[in-house]
Symmetry: C2
Subunit: 319 residues, 2 copies
Amino acid sequence: MSRHVLALCGGVGGAKLAAGLARAIAPGDLSIVVNTGDDFVHLGLHVSPDIDTVAYTLAGLSDRERGWGIAGETWAFMASLRRLGGEDWFQLGDQDLAMHVERTRRLSEGQALSTVTAALTRALGIDHAIIPMSDDPVATIVQTDDGELSFQHYFVRDQCRPVANGIRFEGAAAAKPSPGFEAALARDDLATVILCPSNPYLSIDPILAIPGVRGALEDLDAPIVAISPIIGGRAVKGPTAKLMVEMGLEPGVTAIAEHYRGLLDGLVVDPEDSEAAEALHVATLAIPNLLNSDEDRLRVAQASLAFAEALAQKRRAER
Amino acid sequence: MSRHVLALCGGVGGAKLAAGLARAIAPGDLSIVVNTGDDFVHLGLHVSPDIDTVAYTLAGLSDRERGWGIAGETWAFMASLRRLGGEDWFQLGDQDLAMHVERTRRLSEGQALSTVTAALTRALGIDHAIIPMSDDPVATIVQTDDGELSFQHYFVRDQCRPVANGIRFEGAAAAKPSPGFEAALARDDLATVILCPSNPYLSIDPILAIPGVRGALEDLDAPIVAISPIIGGRAVKGPTAKLMVEMGLEPGVTAIAEHYRGLLDGLVVDPEDSEAAEALHVATLAIPNLLNSDEDRLRVAQASLAFAEALAQKRRAER
């Protein structure tokens, strides 16, 4: 019986649903593929923000109030770095720093990012597979009215203030899916693909930009279900809505469904968007989809999986 | 008038006297040249233990009870690294880590260690010049009955347990004195050279092993005065005495004076060693030379400088 679930995700919103999926699904039955387009080298350290957000969230370490990083984090390193005149626009907590130092050390030994990620997430007590989208470097570049900005400069240093007019994924054309991602796409027992409620343009598109990925997803028998990162025209978190406006799109579930056209079988929306959802070209499920509590995460994960299973049954019945 | 002072020093003991010298001497009149034979790359970071010890001591940041590192240091990074299965035998405090990260970043940009050290120590509020002995890599290797060990493996990881039978300085033959060191040696107004109470074999010898340094010191008009790191046959701190025994030397001021033969004009000893000092081939000054309080450090620094000045006057009178 098909039961493997492949989840594609990016940062905070995606990590919350991934945590729900991890509660709903046994470790061997879930592959969580994470965007690495936000990765960058900072102070000589290889930082993988989305991988770490997913890892900290699944390990139960993430700070729910601040919305990123580790709960109970301390900042002695940053204070000391500031005193030394170092670059301090990107906050690196004392605990968090160990991930970057150990990741960088292992990468410099020649280990692949997948291998390093598997080792570090296991060390955090995570049994589910957290898989970088690629072991090759891909860098999300935001094209703005102020010129091109690397993702972290746009997102963190400049707080998304520059007006975006495009996005490109440097290195994507030459990147291969990581072995774990490729294996998940090729599984006989792949039942469902979940596109987590991450920014479609900044977090999911880099994954889809890797040659072969979009085609492989389109060819799957398994249904592809996205959870909308937009509720009532507003992004739950981050710059999704602002970015959509700047790119000439109306923030809403219609634009999200349109963006994933050709890929998507179902879209999970908030009841606030039920009316807009009626006109979509894909099946929709309307459920409250804020993901703050563990219960909400599990509930939305289970509902999304059931929705996908219903779509799969319908597809089988139609054959 | 000659008044510039050149101090050669290593770790904790040397740093204490350097702090006393810095209280006694105006910034422009003191060059503190520091051993870099203990430097090593750990977790991908360039760690300069002796430079940092001198810097933290002069900045008033050092932890006097623990004897190394920064007072009020926190260890969240280490705990997190340990959880990730990283190498944890070398303690890197959260504040301390910023020095290594920022140093490594600047070195990787192509800055010389001297330049980086000047910038970082200035940022810590230090007005006196802390000068690495060389911008070229030199690595102190301890030859032991268990084989060769890099200094930090011998000193920290193995806690000086292996029995030493020799010491060599890898890279020293190809190293040049740093520009600041070379300039200090060539000053017209050089009045005194102080060999701080550091381990002669592990902390001062690497400096003397750089081609040209020993010859330049021997040719100086300025008197060279050492402060004994041995009091009553015991090392004030660290493995000096144990190392001397293993190398067939009797720990004491006699062996120290002998070790510096040809270089030394005067040796500052503790009153406990007055009797042994009488038989030495160099002039001696007996004063209590523990360096724990700021007052002791200033007192020993001033006494050593006065002793050197007296030796210089005597030398001038004898001409």
